[in-house]
């Protein structure tokens, strides 16, 4: 779960990390009032969950009210990489001399958190990492002990941060680690951490991704989740049904159980010349209602021309799946798109007996099922 910039800044500021004065606004008048209160110059920043907002025109500086109006009108309501901008953060513009990067993430290879500092902030840090890995100082942290103060200092000095601000930057890094640790962060980043002419540091941006598996013990952040969700309408529906769902650009709808098997089904659709419309994992042990919801989801995607159901039961039972498919399809006078079903594993024989073969096409193997679904989708497009 990714927090919006304004939410992450709130969390960071509460922990004592310096952030510029800012206000959230959802219309042009609100943005102008905010700018007056904060004082010019201000930055007006689109609050959507995409990277590279600046380049895409989602962040503008305003020296006075005219420029602020122009910026707010341009940004509010704009389409930013597929996301409509409904809110902007109006923020005091920082007069900076340097831009640093500080971040904490989990190094999955090491199984340990890693703190990173670079003097090359303000740009895409992944590019810096790829071009010049030495430009980023890294310090692995023992998750059982947390970050020792010396580690924060070491990372900062290794990165070559100016001595005048080294102490403050170490402080920000240590606070960022504690936040990451307490809030079950997956990534916590400040890019850029701006250094002013007076040798003060200010977090001009804020990124906080939270481990969704840990939201049960982060009630404050879980409340922010709803706001942070946003995005594709179908993906919102998937959240409601609690599915792992990703919308793709093709026309063969795919439903299965287990991430690896669903991905494999996608790959086979591609292999046999079709294009997957989505990834939908119903998870383990799905009952009839869940299966019906899955079909509802995929049918409501206009791009879908055929559907392949691939279930290999372990925890999931074939009879429950068959019941769910029947229930979902019996609601229609006419089945909206052809459905191919492949059932294997736990209770597959019981499932096959239950399955209404007037409503679906049954195939015994994964390969046959995928090829049949691809063929159906092709027929529609001829």
């Amino acid at each position: 779960m990714k927090l919006h910039e304004y939410q992450a800044k709130e969390v960071f500021a509460d922990a004592g990390i310096p952030t510029p004065e800012s206000q959230l606004a959802s219309d042009v008048d609100g943005a102008l009032t905010a700018a007056e209160e904060i004082g010019y110059p201000v930055a007006i920043k689109a609050q959507v969950q995409v990277g590279g907002r600046g380049k895409a025109g989602g962040i503008k500086l305003a020296e006075d009210a005219d420029e602020a109006r122009e910026a707010a009108e341009a940004i509010l309501g704009m389409d930013l990489k597929g996301y409509r901008v409904d809110r902007v953060l109006v923020e005091a513009a920082v007069d900076f001399t340097d831009e640093l990067y500080v971040g904490i993430t989990m190094d999955r290879g090491e199984g340990k958190p890693v703190a990173m500092v670079s003097t090359r902030g303000g740009v895409n840090i992944e590019e810096v990492a790829a071009e010049d890995p030495d430009a980023i100082a890294r310090e692995h942290v023992d998750p059982a002990f947390g970050m020792h103060p010396y580690q924060a200092r070491k990372a900062v000095y290794d990165a070559g941060v100016d001595r005048a601000v080294a102490r403050d930057v170490s402080g920000v890094l240590a606070t960022l680690y504690d936040l990451w640790d307490e809030k079950d962060g997956s990534d916590a980043e400040i890019n850029p951490l701006m250094v002013t002419a007076d040798d003060e540091v200010v977090a001009a941006d804020a990124v906080m991704n939270v481990d969704e598996d840990a939201l049960f013990r982060q009630p404050d952040l879980a409340e922010m989740e709803e706001e942070a969700a946003g995005g594709d309408e179908l993906e919102r529906k998937a959240d409601e049904y609690d599915f792992d769902y990703v919308r793709l650009s093709g026309n063969v709808g795919i439903i299965g159980n287990g991430a690896g098997l669903v991905m494999t089904t996608l790959d086979l659709v591609d292999y046999y010349g079709g294009e997957p419309a989505n990834f939908l994992d119903v998870g383990g042990g799905a009952k009839a209602e869940r299966i019906a919801n899955a079909l509802d989801m995929v049918f409501s995607d206009e791009n879908v021309d055929s559907v392949v159901f691939n279930i290999f039961g372990g925890i999931t039972r074939g009879d429950e799946v068959a019941k769910g498919i029947n229930e979902a399809l019996e609601r229609f006078d006419e089945i909206p798109k052809p459905v191919v079903v492949r059932l294997a594993g736990t209770n597959w024989e019981e499932g096959m007996e239950i399955l209404n073969e007037d409503l679906v096409t049954v195939e015994e193997t994964l390969e046959d099922a995928v090829q049949r679904a691809v063929a159906y989708a092709e027929e529609v497009n001829q």
Binding site: D181, D213, A344, G345
Partner: protein, 290 residues
Amino acid sequence: MSVLVDDDTRVVVQGITGGEGKFHAGQMLEYGTNVVAGAVPGKGGQEVHGVPVYDTVHEAVAEEDVDASVVFVPPAFAGDAMFEALDTDLDLVVAITEGVPTQDMARVKKRLTETDTRLVGPNCPGLITPGEAKLGILPGNIFADGEVGLVSRSGTLTYQVVDNLTQRGIGQTTAIGIGGDPIIGTDFVDALELFENDPETEAIVMCGEIGGEDEEEAARFIDEHVDTPVAGFIAGRTAPPGKRMGHAGAIVSGSGTGTAESKIDALNDAGVPVGDTPEEVADHIEEFLS
């Protein structure tokens, strides 16, 4: 023959009184697994399927001479359950639980370095030595005793590939689902090493997926240390970058690492053929065994 478990392995089920724990303890017993105890705080003194339940793992180990634990504890308490099992110095802990917070797993992983216990999982289907024992949730009926070792990050994909093998009369020594989470106990390299050292394992199947760099690391290990022939499969070739495909770990970074292509290339370079379909994986294994 087998790795890690056999019909002598004595098992405690942590969370045996819960829905999943109870059902799968029954399935394990039916398969012939030596489930000798359950451990659930506050439920000591009860019995499930005739198996005695203890309040603590320590008590279960003291009373029943346990070798291995299977964890069916809900995610909020699963990390603690793993710590408890590690504290009793069991040989093997298999964590089935899905959705364990990553930071909890980082701490468990650190603790593992201080013990001799092997952890499999979390978020995995467990492992099975056909005809002897299964620890986990795998459907026993699709497996057959034989000479192929299988290691996989995905549960249902394991079933699919095993089915392709068994249908052709190719059995398995042991199948290990290591789980798809970012931080896990036993990884590909550990499993490959076990199979390489098992005299009964004549061929190995390795099923990977997008995300992380474990497959690339496994490829390097195969190149240097594995003589047993290995066939591979990588799920997620069609996955778009930046999207999480179910497993927390199955996300492709934008920078070209962790992609299906980089994994397939690494495996091919190590002499491992990678099937385009599960059926093709079975073709490769059939060739190895003939």
